[in-house]
Symmetry: D2
Subunit: 278 residues, 4 copies
């Protein structure tokens, strides 16, 4: 029997230029759509009478950018999600996910340089209402000190020495469920908490980062963080007759620690219906 299923167009690359007298604005997005509903016939017999083609979903993204503009990735995702559910009787849930690549103006008018920053938004819309999750990806942070790791369990396979001073580095992948929070404020809270938390474990830093977003952004109810521990190992220079006073490190690729957790505002329930199985 057919279980849960969804379909849509993924990675629709759209750039919109808002041409203004005082200088253009540039919006650079990667949009993915996923739809759910009465889609069994297409699976069981190839009857596509309930299937809005993924090509049409792509066209809709481009047309809506012209018809309605793009105020924010959250509002654009919501408009698209509502449209698919409202216009197609067979579609009951829509999830629209958007990555935004940020650019920095390099003259007063028309020229831009792409930055390292990527923002994300996912809007779920269906019978349960609308849920908005925003985020940042691949925000790479490093602190050169104020990070310790000790007091951990030792078993037969433990060789890691305890340390009172190590480099702590991560590539932040964060999402937050909210109702209208400013993404810039959330990002600043993440960076600030990473910087000023004296860390006894990356877990502690994670909790500090999530809590800081909740403090600074009253519209946020829940923050999810996935933090790889990008290990920087102090190189042993003693074979060459040299000391290494926390100066020269090897930046490793794999393996890496992976610390993941949710920090939630007290008293908030997680609505079950926002979790999809993909």
């Amino acid at each position: 029997m057919l279980g849960s299923n969804q379909y849509g167009k993924a990675e629709i690359r759209i750039v919109r230029v808002d041409r203004r007298p005082g200088g253009d604005e540039l919006t650079d997005l990667n949009v993915s759509v996923a739809l759910r509903g009465d889609l069994a016939a297409s699976h069981l017999t190839g009857d596509n009478s309930n299937v809005l083609p993924t090509d049409t979903q792509k066209n809709t993204v481009y047309a809506f950018a012209r018809q309605h503009g793009i105020d924010s990735i959250e509002s654009f995702a919501q408009r698209l999600a509502e449209h698919f559910v409202a216009s197609q009787e067979s579609i009951r849930e829509a999830r629209v996910s958007i990555e935004q690549y940020l650019w920095r103006k390099v003259d007063g008018n028309h020229t831009f340089e792409r930055t390292a920053e990527t923002r994300t938004a996912t809007v779920h819309h269906g019978p349960h209402g609308t849920q908005t999750v925003s985020g940042v990806r691949d925000l790479v942070l490093l602190k050169t000190t104020d990070s310790e790791f000790h007091g951990f369990v030792k078993d037969r396979y433990t060789t890691l020495p305890e340390t009172a001073d190590r480099i702590l580095a991560t590539s932040v992948n964060a999402t937050w469920r909210h109702d209208g929070a400013d993404p810039g404020a959330a990002k600043r809270a993440l960076v600030e908490a990473f910087a000023d938390t004296h860390s006894l474990a990356l877990q502690q830093t994670l909790y500090g980062m999530g809590s800081r977003v909740l403090e600074r952004c009253p519209e946020v109810v829940e923050v999810k963080l996935s933090l790889p521990n990008k290990h920087h190992f102090l190189v042993d220079l003693t074979p060459f007759g040299l000391d290494n006073p926390n100066e020269v490190y090897y930046a490793a690729d794999r393996p890496y620690g992976l610390i993941e957790g949710v920090v939630r505002r007290d008293g908030v329930e997680v609505p079950e219906e926002v979790v999809w199985s993909f």
Copy 2:
């Protein structure tokens, strides 16, 4: 407050050589561990007395390969997952995920060539018992005909023409929940159903592929498929005075359709506890 959380070591690259008189065997794996349990103190105060270091988890993977060998990725994942839960009072659930890269012998003894094939296994172990999910990744299939797409919904934004003959191509990402199924048989069932299903929609092909695995592998209870529709567009050669009788195509990168679904053996329930939120 702290919500759900987990931690572990990701992407531990291990190669094991089983040296035998008749020729060596090579096992090439990428192992990731995630643990859950009484980990609040590490988050809230940096008290790591319940934290088995991720470095220790890495060491355990290497040591177990020597102590116990690696019969299959499923059994190796299960042994590791059970070990972490059994040996650490604070750890209540473990998930071990393994990618296996397959190699082909090119002489009778010691030399191997890597193939394109990647197999996967994830074992969840905890209070709910043990669940095993195996799979294949990045299995790229293409059929040159026997694929149609028509009878779909048309709205204001629809421009896609109906077609009775197109290329169908995908990169299969499949997982199946099972109790001891042969991964080679499951992979063959996926390929065979892709080949012999006359497709009216990629959804129909997906359902055919999942059903075929259930038919051929009685140990499988559920198959999950994520199938990008890798579009091949017929090039319009009429501006050059040429026809194009389904011969010359442009292979597009993005966007792509993404068709995802679960096919389940009748009467089987999905245990809620196997779904983790990450």
Copy 3:
């Protein structure tokens, strides 16, 4: 002043289906074109009267696939390169580079599975005539024994122990200049020499591989090899009370050795004009 320069369209993805009664044939290519000639005006003043648009180059690739078919990537590259030079007075040299992705039939007729194998061809055509270079990429080979490394220079910074038995693994990037050699025979020679050379250094294996191609393929005059030394380090299991008799290895990503060299048929000169500065 303007120095050497070239322009063209890169990464034109084309798939051609040759539909035959006994079963289809599939050709899957990534084509890049680079042209040189009287192109100073475009650089200096934006006068494009000598510029054949890169969009036209793309169209030509698709049209030629229909007009002439694709016998081999070498002949297709040569036909294209000759066309651009012959048809444009301002273009004096053309280089066409093609990657071919190989597929394996999985039924008797219409269905294919992509393999790991990539072949390459580059044809230079110009006043100096035509040079053809073919190759293979990302051919990953490993031998579990028959590899030693000792007798090397030791200086103040040397800590590497000598070894009489190590894993040797590489990802072969090979090109050969030739006049009509069979690429399958060249690839087989590379694999065979990797397998049967008892290696005292990856350099020695490199020389053996290049020499074998020259032996087996009389049409080849020169072989260039770029061989990363994909290190597999024996894991020290003694902290866990375990030995490790060449059984359990860590497969490292970076850094890696990189051994590169040319093996040339005796008496052959390298024509200077085939070396472009990009």
Copy 4:
């Protein structure tokens, strides 16, 4: 016979922290070494008596970072290259290539955020003396207007319409041969010329960018640019009853134009010996 050859350690990842009272400095590098010299014996017979192990080269990079610090990537590369040639009689040429990943301080002291910017340096050292080439990579620039493309050749395969207003976007890969130029000044010259050149062809922009570096940086003698033309296609919205006044674009991945050229200070000769065949 053995032709040209080289060997070395590639992608040595090193992070150095310069701990200072007023706040730390962070240097994050990826270093690759290639050596040439009397290396035939290793290839022909596996006699490694002239081979300084690549592992030793790696150790040297880490040790030199401690012994000498890292003033700039150019000086660090030069020190390493000179060392290998001076200390090993058999080594006659060394090329050291470094990528530097730039970080931005996010507090006054110890915390950094990685930026999108990558700088490069390659130093060749040998009998011919020392040549230094610096550069930037993956500097993604876009202008929303002031770009035209017309007056080009039309042949049978040309369908591209002429345009007087298009988006121009590229990912700058630039290198410059110099004697002590400030990399920040060179980068600013590239960005500035991209912005203020009214472009009739990407070739013209390339020449303008190279010329601007020569104007601003007297120490630079030659600039090499490789500029992909990252196409942004205006979406045809007429099927949906909408116009598209240069507002909504599709950002394509492949194929792309690739425009490459050298801009050289008048009267400067290119020393042949700096061009290596790899």
